[in-house]
């Protein structure tokens, strides 16, 4: 598989042992080599998102530091931890984290209960993009995320999974409502969901970022879908990496 001229950056993978899937670092790097993926943002496994935040941040920042620039670390901190969560983000940033990953279901909060706002203010100060997994009602949905994004207009949010699957119907209305919200390609067929993003005048390929969401997927299938999507080469390059690269240090 070759991707001529495009720098490919995977916006979201989870490394380590999740409940029903696992992604060892050496497997991730081998897959990136095989598929021509230049860089990836890595999030820790589910238990580290929910509870063992420090362990998760040590895993992602350590892996990023040892990767020669191929891996970038998401930081995680359960918002219920209050000031301890903010201190955890400080530590993760010192260790090299460049973005915040949030999962309202795993972390047990509501995007509009106020718990996340102090973390978002940190992300704003540091110019970190914020990945929020979506798709699960009632607390992890595209439109509530869009409302949150409008309250934090200087933060760029990535709508993880773009509402997959039944809340794909809310993805474009959310993107129209919040200009600082980006769509994520994982799971999304090019001939239904992605073509809708591409054709909408207020969205377009410049607001879509490629993601494999490994280890939950077959990564080559996630990439093949973007290569099959009939886009001008410049737009495909934006989706595959340029849009996200602008948000990274």
């Amino acid at each position: 598989m070759t991707i001529s001229g495009a720098r490919v950056v995977d916006a979201h993978v989870r490394v380590g042992e999740c409940r029903e899937a696992a992604l060892p670092l050496h497997t991730l790097l081998a897959t990136m080599d095989r598929l021509g993926i230049d860089a990836a943002l890595i999030s820790p496994p589910e238990r580290c998102i929910a509870y063992h935040n420090a362990e998760g941040n040590a895993l992602t920042t350590g892996a990023a530091a040892a990767s020669g620039g191929r891996l970038y670390a998401y930081a995680v901190a359960n918002p219920w931890r209050g000031t301890d969560a903010l201190a955890e983000l400080d530590r993760a940033r010192s260790a090299g984290a460049v973005a915040l990953a949030v999962d309202p279901v795993l972390q047990g909060f509501d995007l509009h209960d106020g718990l996340l706002d102090p973390l978002l203010r940190k992300a704003c100060d540091w110019r970190w993009p914020v990945y929020v997994r979506t798709g699960t009602p009632p607390t992890a949905l595209p439109l509530p995320l869009a409302s949150l994004a409008r309250r934090h207009p200087d933060v760029t949010f990535i709508m993880g999974r773009s509402g997959a699957t039944d809340f794909w119907i809310d993805a474009i209305p959310a993107l129209r409502y919040a200009p600082n919200l980006l769509a994520d390609t994982s799971y999304a067929p090019w001939d239904t969901v992605l073509s809708g993003f591409g054709a909408d005048p207020s969205v377009g390929p410049e607001r879509v970022v490629f993601s494999t969401d490994a280890p939950y997927t077959v990564p080559e299938v996630e990439l093949e879908r973007i290569l099959d999507w009939p886009l001008p080469a410049a737009d495909r390059a934006r989706v595959l990496g340029e849009n996200l690269t602008r948000l990274l240090p």
């Binding site: 029903e20 899937a21 798709g135 699960t136 009602p137 999974r161 997959a164 699957t165 039944d166 119907i169 799971y187 067929p189 090019w190 001939d191 239904t192 073509s195 280890p215 939950y216 997927t217 077959v218 080559e220 299938v221 093949e224 879908r225 099959d228």
Partner: protein, 258 residues
């Protein structure tokens, strides 16, 4: 690996009543060309228009569509349980149109699986040896355990979870299928890691595959072709895969196709 596929979850075009989620127009010949391109031997074709407006005409057009190649397509019609004459229309589907089952989409059709108005319709399905396929994976009207409760009210009717719980309720779907003898699970729109666990944990004779073809904005149904190819890369052994892709759906369809 050369396993024939019976795709248990496809749709006709949306002809009249879908004001969104409609996709491209296509003919029966286009559809069988898609089946060929995806390596699919035969398909259960579900109503599409009828999910938005469940009229007898929608079932007529479904029957006409699958009649173009009865060796490769069977139809599952639909009725809205709240409409007067719904059970009679279901009877007409089986007795006159050659329909083989009932498709229910609780959130599109606004029907709870607990509504008693579904029961006489299910009794018609039972009398004809048909099956019910129900959209699932989406609260509040289409969870696996809600559909399992309906299945337990009609223990002689095979009831298929049309989406295996999708991304958020597939663990619940496994539990429901495991504890409900007439509940089947169709791997359709479920993420690969979940699909592997479903195959590992559910009764092996009750796992099916579906592509959800028919919704694409391309006549060739690109995403459905990709899904049919993707499942062969989930790391499932060939013997199990053959059961899921061919033997199980063929058994459920009474040995069709020949």
């Amino acid at each position: 690996m050369d396993i024939p596929i019976i795709d248990f979850h496809t749709h006709t075009p949306a002809w009249d009543h879908a004001s969104w989620l409609a996709g491209a127009a296509f003919t029966p010949a286009d559809f069988t060309a898609f089946l060929d391109s995806a390596g699919i031997r035969a398909a259960v074709v579900l109503s599409h228009d009828g999910l938005f407006h469940a009229t007898p005409e929608a079932n007529d057009r479904l029957a006409e569509f699958v009649a173009a190649d009865p060796d490769r397509m069977v139809g599952f019609g639909t009725v809205n349980a709240r409409y007067p004459g719904a059970a009679e229309e279901m009877e007409r589907c089986f007795g006159t149109l050659g329909i083989r089952g009932l498709k229910i989409h609780p959130w599109l059709q606004g029907v709870s699986m607990h509504e008693p108005s579904l029961d006489p319709i299910a009794e018609v399905v039972a009398a004809h040896g048909g099956s019910v396929l129900c959209h699932d994976g989406t609260p509040p009207y289409a969870t696996a355990t809600q559909i399992a409760a309906f299945a337990r009210r009609h223990p002689t009717v095979p009831v298929v979870l049309g989406h295996a719980g999708l991304h958020d309720t597939w663990r619940e779907a496994i539990a429901a299928v495991t504890e409900t003898a007439n509940l089947y699970i169709c791997l359709c729109g479920v993420p690969p890691y979940a699909g592997r666990h479903i195959i590992d944990r559910c009764p092996p004779e009750r796992v099916l595959f579906g592509s959800d073809a028919g919704l694409s904005d391309q006549v060739g149904q690109a995403y459905a072709v990709a899904r049919a190819h993707e499942i062969t890369r989930w790391g499932v052994d060939d013997t199990t895969l053959r059961r899921v892709l061919y033997d199980n759906p063929r058994d459920l369809l009474g040995g069709w196709p020949q």
